[in-house]
């Protein structure tokens, strides 16, 4: 998102006549014309810019799952694109998908580009992963409690039913 905004600022002095699809998408998003912004992004000739533009528009429109799907499609053809990696990691973490978020952040760090450490996203990821670990441990506890509790109850039932006392 930051890179996209920078692109808009850099392009501004050249005037609207030279507006790229991505720049048009950003402008239209600011005007809250998302369908047109998506169309503008799709008209972008450069494949990577087209992928970035579509992800940016869907993210801004609030379609997080759609944006993530498109972003991952874009990453198949451009696996090292730092902007797409960061955006997809951001969305994956918003959707609480820690596994995917970690994968994307590691790929982002491997690009070695400025800002690829993404400390804010990493902090959020750490929180999500800690929660996932707590959840996994709790699930294990719950399952063992059920197995042991039900097992003990059934054994007690069988023992009591088997050894009924006769009336003296």
């Amino acid at each position: 998102m930051l890179l996209a905004a920078l692109a808009l600022l850099v392009a501004a002095p050249f005037g609207a006549a030279q507006e790229t699809g991505m720049q048009a998408a950003i402008r239209l998003v600011q005007e809250e014309r998302y369908a047109q912004a998506l169309g503008a992004a799709e008209r972008e000739v450069e494949p990577i810019a087209r992928a970035q533009g579509r992800v940016y528009v869907l993210h801004q429109a609030g379609d997080l799952r759609g944006a993530l799907t498109l972003g991952r499609e874009g990453l198949r053809s451009h696996p090292d694109d730092a902007w797409l990696l960061r955006e997809c990691a951001d969305i994956a973490l918003s959707l609480h998908d820690a596994r995917l978020g970690r994968e994307l952040l590691e790929r982002l760090a491997a690009t070695g580009q400025p800002g690829s450490e993404a400390p804010l996203l990493r902090g959020y990821l750490d929180g999500l992963e800690a929660l996932a670990q707590k959840r996994a441990r709790a699930l294990l506890r719950a399952r063992w409690t059920v197995v042991l509790g039900l097992g003990a109850a059934l054994l007690a039932l069988m023992a009591l039913a088997w050894r009924a006392s006769p009336r003296p």
Binding site: G62, T145, G149
Partner: protein, 532 residues
Amino acid sequence: MNATTPDRRTLGILSVVGLAGACTMVLELSAVRLIAPWFGASQGVWTNVIGVVLLALALGYLAGARLAARARPERPLGWVLIAGALLTAWLPWAVAPVAAWLRPEGVTLDRAADLYLWGSLAAALVLFFPAATVLGCVCPLAVEIVQACGGLHAGTAGGRVLCVSTLGSLAGTFATTHLLLPDLGLRVTYLAGGIVLGGLGALVLGGALRRAGSAAALILVPAALLAPDGTRQPVGAGVRLLESAQSPYQALRVVETEGEGPLLRLLQVNEGLGSFQSVWQPEPGLLPLGYYYNAFALPPWWARAEGEWRLLVLGLGGGSAWRVVEGCLPPGATLASVGVEIDPAVVDLGRRHLDLPAGSAARRILAGWDARTALFQLAGERFDQVVLDTYANQTEIPAHLSSLEFFREVRGLLAEGGWLSVNVGGFGLEDPVVDAVARTAARAFGQRALLVRVPFARNVALIVRRGAAPPEPGAGAWLAGDRRVDSILARTAIPSAWRWVEPDTAGRVLTDDRNPIEELQRRSIRRAQEPG
């Protein structure tokens, strides 16, 4: 032994049995309420709790039968009641550590699907199994005593004991739902159950133990009442508690946000899983992006409403839908609305904290009505829009409010061209629950239904009309010409944000006779947990 002694003893023992039966139902019916803040109150949770109690009772019957073979069954009966008292009275204080051990704070619903089922089963085993087992011992012990006292046949003694126990359970059932939980709350209800059982135990044991029991009660009861309430989850950072209450249906609380963000009040039910039933902001109108209530405000704009807009809200809650629609009507339109809410306590909280009106000709409230039965009450009236907001989380969708027959009844209340707006929680437009509910509504209306993703939320708005189709997303009639409303509509005009569901789409529709909504919900959550 004179002729009257056995009868008196028999009556005494039968009274003990009746009260113990009532306490058993207090334990069972309050159980789901007790763990609901952590695990919800879905049918799966109810099934787990009832299953555990039945297993415990079965074990208790056998254990009681063994104890009854002893020379003086009155003594084990007394001790069993004392143990039942302690195991019942401790529950409100035990629930928080046990439940928190099994369900960590902060886990969202889509990551907790297996946890709330396994967790609720484990919690039921730890919390309710011991008490229910001990209470299960009462009947066989009582049968032995009654048989011996009256010189009766085993069948006669057993029949009398079971009859009185069942009648006691019946009384406990109604008292728990309609009297104890709403008036006393969970903590005092369990404490009262413990006191009754302890008192019965002391009476049965008699003598020195009765005095010891009385002394213990004098110490323990005030201590328990003064101890912190363990049945409620803390409200968390960034919000403050305005009021909490127990109703026959659920635990309720109203919290208010604090800090730099917008001032909001949330009405939460069974506080677990971070959900809320109603939201309030100081000014009526659209809520911030991400709140599904905003989708309810769209039909009056699409209809270019003028004059009176007749709105029926099924699941009124604290009146969020009213405030959003009323504050965002097109110029020249006024709201005349009926709201149906099953839980009167929700309405009371809404009036005190969420500016819910007291009720008037333009704002009629049917409190205490189930949405389905309210449709019969409203037969003959016609509405321009019906809002259905009764689906809680992804786990508590009432089957009778998602069936073909129900949607046909809703259609019957709509004026020609009228709109049905449904809030459905789901994980995308292809979610199994969303898909099934939309297909059912489309079939009932005989019209294509529109599914619209709520921006920045996992909710989906289902929109279907009587005798017409909703506007085509992105087409000329889609936008309202109002900046606030179009901010939402423009976001939902992109192709990935909506989907049509045709009335003749192949696949099962949900009916009153066959409605696998629980299975669909499990499938939905499993699907959301799949990687990628």
